[in-house]
Point group: C2
Chain length 383, copies 2
DNA sequence: ATCAGTTTCGGGAAAGTTCCCGATAGTTTT
DNA sequence: AAAACTATCGGGAACTTTCCCGAAACTGAT
């Protein structure tokens, strides 16, 4: 019958219920419950196995500590032993398991990058700049895009945080008005740097360009070209860059004694469809503008396409200036006057700033310069 | 003097060397070596602490197993206990540590995506498609770009593998001729799916479009428009898509009885500079082509810019067809005829295929359809 | 031989989870 | 009331690495 594993007797063993489908026994003599071991456990389940520090230790008949020391380049080790270990490690293609390390030190060496989109030129380039310095510093990068959706942004922040990233590089969506999800990040003391679309009400370091002066220059250029009724297709008021560029626009008008017509300032959500709608709206006004300063190049390009489809001549009847110097702006006809910003450098600076934050947190704002690039979309031929 | 921690006597204690700067003692009576405990150990080092499953267990006076069961939604648990645990977890903002889980199960829930670049439309869109299905399946994404450099590609594969990604989505660089780094991935049995720029000599699943037929259609369209001397600015021979599109080009010429002039077929490395150089070269030939089929839209656009700068009229003197339907091709003037491929869908399919691979490996190739989009760059006005 | 000092190595804890399986207590059946 | 069963819980191993600290073995010097 059934033998008790304790006393090896069979006389006192009796059935004692079933647990998880398995017959359970009870030895009256030993006062001991037990089940029979499952036979499946006997099969040698090798499975796929990454080579570990223990494998090396066993093969060499030494302890894992010694192997770890050799691999990590510590000092308390014999030169011959180190060489032996290093050789075997290479031969076995040993790769340290970053998960164990991350668990132990609670750092993953991953930084998260959160952007609204990466269809256009700006964010991909920014990301490449950031990646350049981050990978050099030994960090991997996890990229999320919120698709200009506040909900997705929240979900992404959550996912990134649950992945235990060591830091965050963020550009918020056009519809983000509530910043609680970022406050949660701050509360967990995860370093975070905002770039481009920053968060002024949060005390975090940030990298921006001189949006105000860029916009100012752009509008002043239009005025110098003889345009007088200059509209501004602006971003949402929630974004600081929208407000700064709007201020630049407004002050340039004021400086040159031009009135600020509220009808000519339109805030929109940065979507392509809305850009087209508002471009059409502006051009249908009883007194349409003779120039438009667009919040960014994709917007400016949509305006140009609308204008062209309506037969409005650029730059004769409509001057246009964008912002960012998207490569497409040099390709489109007429080529688009724009404000260049050092996008790649922004990425680098943001990454550098993040690395600094990891060392010692401090609140700074880096502001990068902008530069007017005059092309054909704003050169008014009428003197 | 010094007291032995075992016998609490001082008579038998004597100095016994120094280890790491600390005086070491030996008790002759107990035959026991010891050092004095460092006083720094007394300071309570709380540090920053993520709330764990153990915190919940302690606060509730239950075991970690029970907490785990409640959180994972297992069955062996009382409904009241579960609720209590879930409530406290929410209150403490408990987030499970994915590192511990990953270490245990050796799965990170991260997939790596490796692309040559993401400045243009194609790869970002592809990535977004992939991300759509991957994030729905609970995976995070780690994106690397090789910058069309074989060395960077190797480094990226290594970094991704050392990050223990659960799978890999890859599009190789234009200069990749050696595939050993991918063989290493296969050897470690990490699922991998190639897309667009695939690796025919590796037995891996892949997602491509019907490059041959797309190219065939493109060239046949040019022929139908009356172009007779059609050049092909092709990609490097190492890429299958280059070869397939070249085949389509060649067969279309052959079908319509046009000669294949080797001088009109140029392989290049897909860099912008080379595109310009070869475009200039083609247009400077004693008998220049009257049309060019370009390997992709960015190439076609570079050709158009060169042609325009040389005063060559498109489409009258030069017909151009690209491949991919990059949004810019609709913006540029004249608008660019191109072969549309379902880029977003490619990303989705590749991701789906990867998820399938994780379940049960099987070698398949998904081929997606292409579609000719006729615009103005190829409509020959001469009948 | 005895002692101080040095070099090199090993053992064990810790990080946070999940999972296996045995252990209770309570409930129903015979 | 004994036997059989169910519901619920706890203990411990495992995943891989690093780090602390004690142990052993050695080198010279007395």
């Amino acid at each position: 019958m059934i033998k008790c594993p304790k006393c090896l007797q069979i006389d006192f063993v009796q059935k004692a219920g079933i647990t998880r489908g398995k017959q359970r026994y009870f030895c009256k003599d030993c006062d001991y419950h037990f089940t029979l071991p499952t036979p499946s456990a006997t099969t040698e389940n090798k499975r796929h196995h990454q080579v570990t520090i223990m494998d090396i230790a066993h093969q060499l008949g030494i302890s894992k500590s010694t192997v770890s020391r050799a691999l990590r380049g510590h000092s308390d080790i014999h030169e011959g032993t180190r060489k032996m270990i290093l050789d075997l490690a290479q031969q076995l293609e040993y790769q340290p398991n970053p998960l164990a390390n991350a668990l132990l030190k609670s750092r993953t060496n991953i930084v998260g990058i959160l952007v609204p989109e990466f269809r256009h030129y700006f964010f991909p380039t920014m990301i490449m700049g950031a990646q350049e310095v981050l990978s050099k510093a030994g960090y991997n990068v996890m990229i999320c895009q919120s698709d200009e959706s506040y909900e997705t942004e929240m979900a992404n922040v959550k996912a990134l945080m649950s992945s235990r990233v060591d830091g965050l590089l963020v550009s918020v969506t056009a519809q983000t008005n509530n910043f609680d999800h970022f406050r949660a990040v701050l509360r967990k003391e995860v370093p975070m740097v905002f770039f481009n679309r920053v968060c002024p009400e949060l005390e975090t370091p940030q990298v921006i360009v001189d949006d105000y002066n860029g916009a100012f220059q752009a509008v002043e250029h239009l005025i110098a070209q003889g345009y007088r009724r200059i509209a501004h297709l602006a971003g949402p008021n929630s974004l600081l860059v929208s407000r700064l560029r709007l201020n630049g626009y407004r002050d340039a008008l004021q400086k040159h004694g031009l009135p600020l017509d509220p009808d000519l300032v339109i805030h929109y959500d940065l979507s392509e469809e809305k850009a087209r709608i508002y471009a059409n709206y502006l051009l249908s006004l009883p007194q349409p503008p003779d120039a438009i300063f667009a919040i960014n190049d994709p917007t400016a390009i949509e305006i140009m396409l609308v204008a062209k489809s309506r037969g409005v001549k650029i730059p004769q009847e409509l001057g246009i200036v964008g912002f960012s110097n998207d490569p497409v702006s040099a390709i489109i006809e007429p080529s688009l006057t724009t404000i260049e910003q050092p996008v790649w450098e922004m990425g680098r600076q943001a990454a550098k700033l993040l690395l600094e934050q990891m060392e010692h947190p401090h609140n700074v704002t880096h502001t990068l310069p902008t530069k007017l690039i005059v092309r054909n979309s704003s050169v008014n031929l009428r003197p």
